[in-house]
């Protein structure tokens, strides 16, 4: 089901862990969506000197986390911000269609960690960690749903697709 590159990154993930005195932290996802990812960064001269991740999620989510950290390591912040979900998937030689949502988290977590670094640098948030996203049942959240089978956005927050009747997915913003 997965490409060789995905399996390689899943089985021997790179840059696992948490940098304790990180310069930037990005936390995305929640167990309701199925995945959670935390990325911590060390920045020197506007360059990502070190980067680590922790992920709760499936094989694809772990591979995406590993790949995004490998792609970002050593890059300037400006370059790292140009890493997209799509480029991560390309580097992984693709993901099954119903797993593409996993790839969204990778670049999101990276970008959030970089934005966190900028904010700290400007002294807006100090060294306080961002509050963890509160986990609520999907039904109570606002936003749209997406059916990975029909590949369509659904106008309302509903548990099943109106077209095929299959369960929908919450769209990460």
């Amino acid at each position: 089901m997965y490409s060789e590159t995905v399996m390689d990154h899943f089985k021997t993930p790179r840059n696992v862990g948490r940098i304790e005195d990180a310069d930037g932290i990005g936390e995305v996802g929640n167990p309701v969506c199925g995945d959670m990812m935390t990325i911590t960064l060390k920045v020197k001269d506007d360059r990502i000197e070190d980067i680590k991740f922790e992920t709760f999620g499936c094989g694809a989510a772990i591979a995406v986390s590993s790949m995004v950290t490998e792609m970002a390591k050593g890059k300037t912040l400006e370059e790292a911000l140009k890493i997209t979900n799509k480029s991560v998937v390309e580097q992984l030689e693709g993901l099954p269609k119903n797993k593409l949502h996993c790839s969204n988290l990778g670049a999101d977590a990276l970008h959030q960690a970089i934005m966190d670094y900028y904010e700290r640098k400007e002294g807006r948030t100090g060294r306080k960690r961002r509050k963890r996203e509160k986990v609520e049942p999907l039904e109570h959240r606002e936003g749209r749903c997406y059916c990975p089978y029909c590949d369509v956005e659904l106008p309302e927050e509903i548990p099943t697709c109106t077209l095929c009747g299959k369960p929908t997915e919450h769209r990460h913003e």
Partner: protein, 387 residues
């Protein structure tokens, strides 16, 4: 590296005697059992022999046994067949929160056509309360469908008690016994069911063949309109090789059931006893009233598909009910119904044992599982390191 197969809830390997019976049939016979000549008659004899054997497995008369393409067809046939046949009497159906998707989606389809469905909830062990079923029944109710054993947590439902209620109210009662048929005793008389679905690939028979038991006088439309096969209850040329295999598998299941149950229960107990060493693992389903061949566990802080893939790397085949692996991207409705939170539901694995498995395999699986969980917990942001 020896492969260990602990996924008998998904499919069982063919019993060697079933395999022999199927090969023997396919190499000598090709006739259509509805043909009125000697070649057809030979096929008819094999068909009716298989029907009798499956009837014997579930305590049904042969003429009450209808061959189908498997559990899903049987379930669709029972639910939609009754709903269509009894539409003028009412449009209300009672079911439970933890049914298989074949039941849930059949009912969802009927809802779109104007039927109403009441789904009773289950307790923390996954048990349906028969009183809830009784209360859910209205004058409009035309069908009750409750599963025998749940395929994700193994809990065995009080079918006979529900059967007494539906009899009293004279409402057709369908039971999805796909996970239990051929594994534990299934008796249509004791259970008081009017319709019952089973599949051969749960008891060492081939995939792609199943049975719908239909009690005489049950109001039911065919799902497949066509020829006169199966007394016009199911059109379509018979899958003879599959049917012969199912017949043999049913015969063997009936003979060997006590020994098989004892064997898999011993493996299940050894597996559960060994889980303590992993830590923060919960067992899903009822502690005693459950399938002897299935252990459903939820491992905290890690996701099921990731565990399954790493176990597969070590040659251990199991299944998972995490949303990520099923392709549905949503936590299992069964696990949420018994009160598991989303994160815990995502870490659910099913170990299902069979007659060729050994205690040594259980030990190796436990050791490997321990390593796999430790590896993934190291990566997990949810895992709070102790000490």
């Amino acid at each position: 590296m020896e492969t260990i197969y602990f996924d008998h809830i998904s499919a069982t390997p063919l019993h060697p005697e079933v395999e022999r019976a199927m090969i023997d049939y396919i190499s000598h016979s090709y006739g259509n059992p509805v043909s009125q000549h000697r070649i057809g008659d030979a096929a008819l004899e094999a068909l009716e022999g298989a029907r009798e054997k499956v009837g014997g497995l579930i305590n049904a008369n042969p003429e009450e046994v209808v061959f189908t393409s498997g559990g899903t067809e049987s379930i669709n046939h029972a639910i939609k067949g009754v709903a269509f046949a009894r539409a003028e009497k009412g449009k209300h159906i009672v079911t439970s929160n933890i049914e298989h998707n074949a039941v849930l989606k059949s009912l969802r389809m009927l809802e779109r056509m104007g039927y109403r469905v009441t789904s009773v909830s289950v307790d923390e062990f996954g048990l349906v309360d028969p009183d809830d079923v009784k209360e859910a029944i209205t004058d409009e109710t035309i069908l009750v469908s409750i599963m025998h054993a749940n395929n994700e947590i193994g809990t065995i439902e009080p079918i006979a008690e529900i059967g007494r209620i539906t009899r009293e109210r004279n409402i057709p009662f369908h039971c999805d016994a796909v996970a239990s048929g051929g594994v534990i005793p299934v008796d249509v008389e004791e259970m008081g069911v009017d319709l019952l679905s089973i599949a051969a690939n749960q008891f060492y028979g081939p995939s792609g063949v199943g049975v719908l038991y239909i009690r005489p006088k049950t109001e039911l439309w065919p799902l497949f309109d066509g020829g006169m096969q199966e007394s016009s209850r199911r059109g379509g040329t018979h899958n003879m090789v599959g049917i012969v295999g199912m017949g043999k598998a049913a015969e063997l299941a009936r003979e060997e059931m006590p020994q098989r149950m004892e064997h898999v229960l011993q493996l299940k107990k050894a597996f559960i006893d060994g889980l303590g060493f992993i830590g923060e693992v919960v067992l899903n389903g009822h502690p005693t009233q459950s399938l002897p061949n299935l252990a459903s566990i939820s491992v905290s802080y890690v996701e099921g598909e990731a565990m399954m893939l790493l176990l597969d790397e070590e040659g251990i085949c199991i299944s998972t009910r995490s949303a990520c692996a099923s392709g549905s991207l949503r936590a299992s409705h069964v696990l949420l119904s018994i009160g598991r939170d989303y994160a815990t539901a995502q870490g659910t694995l099913l170990f299902s044992f069979g007659m060729t498995n050994t205690l040594g395999e259980v030990e190796r699986a436990l050791e490997t599982l321990k390593e796999v969980v430790a590896t993934l917990r190291k990566i997990s942001p949810l895992y709070k390191k102790k000490g």
